[in-house]
Symmetry: C2
Amino acid sequence: MVRAGSASRPTGRSEDTRRALVDAAVEVLRREGFSAATARAIATRAGCNQGLVFYHFGSVVNLLLAALDEVSDQRRQRYEEALVGVQRPSQLVDLAARVFREDLDTGDAALLVEMIAGATSTPGLGEQVKARVEPWTQFATAALHQVVGASPLAAVVEPAEIAHAVVALYLGLELLSHLDGDRAAALALFDRARHLAALADLITGSTAGPQDEEET
Amino acid sequence: MVRAGSASRPTGRSEDTRRALVDAAVEVLRREGFSAATARAIATRAGCNQGLVFYHFGSVVNLLLAALDEVSDQRRQRYEEALVGVQRPSQLVDLAARVFREDLDTGDAALLVEMIAGATSTPGLGEQVKARVEPWTQFATAALHQVVGASPLAAVVEPAEIAHAVVALYLGLELLSHLDGDRAAALALFDRARHLAALADLITGSTAGPQDEEET
DNA sequence: GTCTATACTTGGATAGAC
DNA sequence: GTCTATCCAAGTATAGAC
């Protein structure tokens, strides 16, 4: 915790190396997937010796988890900022579409998928990844609550259930898009969803406007 | 081409080895995932020498593709048989739920996901896997056509689009179920879908449709 | 404390035995 | 034609240099 030496610079002697490795791990996971994410491949991309992976992170999987944390944190922050002020279903769909397209393009979605699928091959990794996916489903649940609120929709919609489906759809669409090398099909779905959301807007909007919130 | 020797039995001296390897590859992919599916791991499980992978299949990925073909073919056959006679939306949802649960339990869904995700790591594999996923989306599209038919639903439903979403959802739910070690959340979704499908039944049924037949 | 050189294990592929 | 013994590259991990 103590940052001795250079006062203003948080950039330490070894902190650079750690960061370089994490960034490289992110890139390799995004582009070449889990089973190509070896200590050698990552270190080469980071421009440093392969042994440093073990010195700084103890093992390859630990480094991969650090990479997952890195992108997860960034993304969650973006998401939460974007969620502020969203109240109507169609707004939420727009947000989801934007965010999903970004994740598709940056490769963040691919990274997550690779880690989940890769977890099958490494004992113990599943638990770790699971803990990092859950905040996500939580976020989606909260977003749905925020939008459905106390409207009549609340009677027919179970946020946690929809959230699970939405996250699954997100992951599945990434798999297919990646395979096709084409995100068009995925994006077309969001257009369709927007039309449906417009209907939902009428329901949430008819009883009350941007109004009070109650929770069950 | 000519199967000399034993006339009626296609079971040759080497055919046994091939089959043992394919079966072992299926098992390893299902249980330990793509990056653990090495020539050695598979051969060990098949109880034969590791070099046979290369003699019979040329490379590890070729063997993995043979494994994918094996389960894909079996599954497609089962699906098509089950689709016969399905006419109402709720019947289709029931079929989907049953089939999905089976694939979840046998690990067939896991195998497919592993191959798709793993394809990122191996140049050229993506194309091969894609060709094996497409029949699937085709099947889902055909099933939707069969159910929507010429009913009023046809005006608002685009089978190819829904099919894409359904396949994506299938893959995503597998990822999450596997991670959670719990398929309950996925199955709950199908219950929900059944209720929605019951509404759709009314729409398709209003023009034409038999009303008996009760299935669990 | 940071990093490199080295040890050892596992994996892909083939030359050659049967 | 079928399979095994062997080779080399790639992977993880650490002992020890700086």
